[in-house]
């Protein structure tokens, strides 16, 4: 068992040819210790999926060598695949088959002897808590349950090495916890080796070893503690009585000695530069009443520090003028008893909330909670089954075209024209929003400069780096200075630096009077919102300010609960009630 589960030596893998060639992996050296859970951490496009597919012989190597469980992948791909379990991001569940039929199918495919099956099934169903649902169609399971079933299918015949590609993305916190328990039970009981990738930095702390991957290169490999130890004495939390955390964060991040600042509940967590000692009295000029407390470093701090820190608000944030508020009765966004069904499936159940002018309002929930469906109804992209919505005084589905010019919309996945250049995209959308003449040229210039897109003006939008794609989408949604902005999962799959940049920009917009409605499945992002609703299975579980919602979960043992704790508490109390 002393032999490493995986050895990668100088691994190269490029896609495309000639000038379009893009190297997903560029000289990667890794060793994965046996009997451990190793996390592969990195933003989208870092090369995580490519690495996993190479390890199980699904892709051809361009250079270097990979030894999986002591076998060379290039020489014995079939033997490697027989010993390895791989669960891709979207596991191939057959949605028209029941849970049991899916299990049977994978047991057949893996050649599990029939007499061994009942015991294995019982164990898997017990771990995944899917036993009551064995006859349900896989397509009708919630996102978290699907993911657990996927894992169960990958485990019907316990592999010696399990590769999990982002198993927890978009999954609700309860299911995430359960997935991690399953993974650890397999390592303990069966001595399985696990390599998993994740975009959640807090999950990295649950791994024995962490490999940091960035732009196809390994930035470091160590235990999560080792990573964060380098930051000892540089992480603090700042709180203030009279300033809202969002304001405080925006001011702190501009200070010279501070390399990163994020909102953490009611406080602001900062990483200071080496040798800088934050002093409560002088940290923020004009705000003497700050309280500064040293806190132990987390993995995320180390990750950000390695990437260079967020620093001085160096984000590409364009100047945003105060927006003129339209004349209409009531709040900018009002939702009453909103319902939407697809066949006999109710995706959104009696949802009500309203968003005030200049507020950042969050819709939080796991994938499949009904966030996007609600969102599309608000934007007039989907008819309501029943209820009422009003955006800037109109139902956008029936409103005049003019009413739509008050809103900006940024879809979940990049949805600008991929084979048009950046400038052509901006020209088209500005024309669609009735901008013309010198005003149009001025706004295009504003977008190109403010979002630092000028060097890319002639580049096809589809070939931009991910972070720039998001900037372009953001710019296109802001060309016409909308007073209401809809942002659907803007931070999904984006690296932590780009997420900071995004929130800095959104804050600036809210300061300028823009009403922002944003959906996210990152619980910790809730603290950037003024108010939010938490959704699960199409219904609203709770509504209020982040502070109010976190207070719901406060207990003597956990005096400062995180948003995730609150979410889990809400789900559990709902299940008890049911």
């Amino acid at each position: 068992m002393s032999q490493p589960a995986l050895i990668l030596r100088d691994v190269h893998k490029c896609f495309g040819e000639g000038e379009h060639a893009r190297c997903a992996l560029d000289g990667v050296n890794i060793e994965v210790a046996p009997g451990s859970v190793t996390g592969l951490i990195g933003p989208d496009g870092a090369g995580k999926t490519t690495l996993m597919r190479l390890c199980c012989g699904l892709l051809k190597l361009d250079g270097g060598s990979i030894q999986t469980l002591g076998m060379d992948v290039a020489d014995q791909p079939a033997a490697v695949q027989a010993a390895v379990g791989y669960m891709p991001q979207r596991f191939g569940l057959y949605e028209d088959l029941s849970v049991q039929e899916n299990l049977d199918l994978y047991a057949d495919l893996q050649g599990v002897p029939v007499q061994e099956r009942p015991a294995r099934y019982t164990r898997l169903m017990e771990m995944t808590k899917l036993a009551p649902f064995t006859s349900r169609l896989a397509g009708k399971l919630s996102g978290g349950m699907k993911q657990k079933l996927g894992l169960a299918c990958a485990l019907v015949r316990p592999p010696r090495l399990l590769l999990l590609d982002e198993p927890t993305v978009g999954v609700d916190p309860v299911s995430r916890r359960e997935l991690w328990e399953i993974v650890y039970s397999q390592v303990r009981e069966a001595g399985m080796n696990v390599l998993l990738s994740t975009a959640y930095l807090d999950e990295a702390e649950r791994c024995d070893q962490v490999i940091l991957l960035h732009k196809g290169r390994v930035l470091g490999q160590a235990s999560p503690d080792r990573f964060s130890q380098g930051l000892k004495g540089r992480t603090w939390e700042v709180s203030a009585q009279d300033i809202r955390p969002r304001r405080l964060q925006a001011d702190l991040v501009k200070q010279a000695g501070i390399s990163d600042a994020i909102i953490n509940g009611d406080r602001v967590r900062i990483i200071t530069r080496e040798g800088f000692e934050p002093d409560a009295a002088s940290l923020l000029p004009g705000h003497p009443g700050l309280h500064v407390e040293a806190v132990p470093p987390r993995f995320e701090d180390a990750f950000i520090d390695r990437l260079g820190g967020a620093g001085e608000g160096r984000h590409a944030t364009p100047a945003i003028g105060q927006v003129a508020a339209g004349e209409y009765p009531g709040d900018p966004i009002e939702v009453e008893q909103l319902e939407r069904g697809f066949g006999d499936f109710v995706a959104v159940k009696k949802v009500s909330f309203s968003v005030k002018r200049g507020e950042i309002f969050g819709l939080l929930g796991a994938n499949g909670a009904g966030k996007t469906t609600t969102f599309r109804m608000l934007c007039g992209l989907l008819p309501l089954s029943s209820g009422r919505v009003s955006v800037a005084g109109h139902d956008l589905r029936t409103a005049s075209a003019q009413a739509r010019s008050r809103i900006g919309y940024m879809a979940q996945k990049f949805s600008l024209y991929a084979n048009l250049t950046v400038a052509q995209n901006l020209e088209f959308f500005s024309a669609a929003y009735n901008l013309r003449g010198s005003h149009q040229r001025g706004r295009i210039q504003w977008a190109l400069q403010g979002f630092e897109l000028e060097p890319y003006a002639g580049t096809n939008a589809g070939t931009l780096p991910l972070g720039y794609k998001q900037r372009l989408a953001f710019a296109a949604a802001l060309m016409h200075e909308p007073e209401i902005l809809f942002l659907d999962e803007p931070t999904s799959g984006v690296d932590p630096l780009a997420r900071r940049e995004f929130w800095a920009r959104t804050n600036a917009l809210a300061e300028a009077g823009v009403t922002v409605l944003v959906t996210t499945h990152f619980m910790e992002e809730a603290d950037y919102c003024d108010r939010l609703v938490i959704m699960a299975e199409g219904a609203v579980l709770a509504e209020g300010s982040p502070h109010e919602i976190r207070t719901l979960a406060r207990t003597p043992e956990n005096p400062r609960p995180r948003m995730e704790d609150a979410f889990i508490g809400l789900i559990q109390s709902r299940e008890k009630a049911a």
């Binding site: 934007c379 007039g380 075209a401 919309y409 600008l416 048009l420 088209f428």
Partner: protein
């Protein structure tokens, strides 16, 4: 509104022309199909393989065989000496027909009697067999007449003196190539427009479009323009090739042809956008386009006459825009038609176009998931 349409049309053109794959779709297949149809598709049969089983060997038999050999339609590939050899030749498709001269063919003719000539035909493709038989008949008729002239008799009492109007040589290219103008333009326009909305749906840009102040009508018109423009360019190219390369005369009014072309494209764009509005993915759109194309071509009278179809099917052909355009393009090319004669072809296409565009516009806003 006008600015919106212009901005949309520019965007559509850019999206279409900046993508090397869709550029190829516009240029590659039409040229390929033009070559294939122009040269390969023809109702005329040339160089049909013939075997001769000459039991006579006399001068008259040889004269008849050399006439057949001399015709562009036939090509004698085998001489058979025994009867058993005949069947394998036909069975293996080595020859389409076998000519069998009876042993005393020349002698009978010389005596002033009649010689009998047996033809064995491969009837598996009845159309080809009938055509071949026709060619053979006219050769034999010719042979009879010259024989009669030599004998000094008057020949048969009634002779057929044939003169074809419009297509003087009865060259079937003159029939097929103008039809290709309609066929290829339909394929390209339909594929271009059918993909346009479906592509945006698949890539998520259609939502982005729907939340802008653009009206559905503007989206509809903006998306129609590239299909129309590309269709006109494509059709003009094929018309030019038909006239200059295949030397088919354009006898009628060019204006009447282009009015018909515009209305035809209008209806094709409408059907294309309707298919596009129904489809969620590009794959569905392409399938939908072909689901429409295949019956549209068969029912149009491109190859088989509409008059031969069962009555119920004939009713269906009235829904097919290609049906009307084929009448126009053939009429203008061969008959020299002008506006007045074609009115009855113009208005049905206008109605098909308007109805399908209206349906597409309704579907834009009502089919959403």
């Amino acid at each position: 509104m006008l600015r919106h349409i212009l901005a949309l049309a520019i965007k559509e053109f850019l999206a279409l022309l900046r993508d090397p794959r869709s550029r190829f779709v516009l240029i590659g297949p039409p040229i390929m199909q033009l070559i294939i149809f122009g040269y390969a598709a023809s109702f005329d049969l040339d160089h049909l393989a013939v075997a001769v089983y000459d039991e006579d060997g006399g001068s008259a038999a040889r004269a008849l065989v050399s006439r057949i050999q001399g015709s562009p339609h036939f090509h004698v590939v085998a001489h058979v000496a025994r009867e058993e050899e005949v069947a394998p030749l036909v069975d293996n498709k080595e020859v389409l027909l076998v000519l069998h001269m009876e042993p005393r063919f020349t002698a009978h003719l010389a005596q002033g009697g009649s010689g009998s000539l047996q033809v064995i035909l491969d009837g598996r493709n009845s159309n080809t067999a009938l055509l071949a038989l026709n060619y053979l008949r006219s050769i034999v008729l010719d042979f009879n007449q010259s024989l009669a002239a030599r004998r000094g008799s008057d020949g048969p009492p009634v002779t057929l003196s044939m003169r074809a109007w419009y297509n003087e040589d009865l060259d079937s290219h003159w029939f097929i190539i103008p039809g290709i103008v309609g066929l290829l333009t339909l394929v390209v326009t339909l594929v271009v427009t059918a993909l346009s909305v479906a592509r945006e749906r698949e890539q998520g840009t259609f939502d982005q479009l729907l939340v802008t102040p653009l009206r559905p009508t503007a989206i509809l018109v903006g998306k129609s323009i590239p299909g129309l423009v590309i269709g006109v360019i494509e059709a003009s190219f094929i018309i030019a090739v038909a006239m200059l390369w295949f030397e088919i005369p354009l006898r009628g009014s060019v204006g009447a042809l282009y009015l018909g072309l515009l209305l035809f494209l209008f209806s094709a764009v409408g059907v294309g956008l309707m298919i596009s509005a129904i489809s969620v993915t590009q794959q569905q759109a392409v399938l939908g386009a072909f689901l429409f194309l295949v019956p549209a071509v068969i029912l149009s009278g491109f190859a088989t006459p509409i008059a031969n179809m069962p009555e119920a099917v004939q009713m269906l052909t009235y829904l097919d825009p290609l049906r009307y355009f084929l009448v126009i393009v053939r009429g203008v090319f061969l008959e020299g038609d002008s506006y007045a004669l074609l009115v009855d072809q113009y208005w049905p296409m206008a109605i098909i176009g308007a109805a399908s565009l209206a349906a597409a516009g309704w579907l834009f806003r009502h089919r959403m998931y």
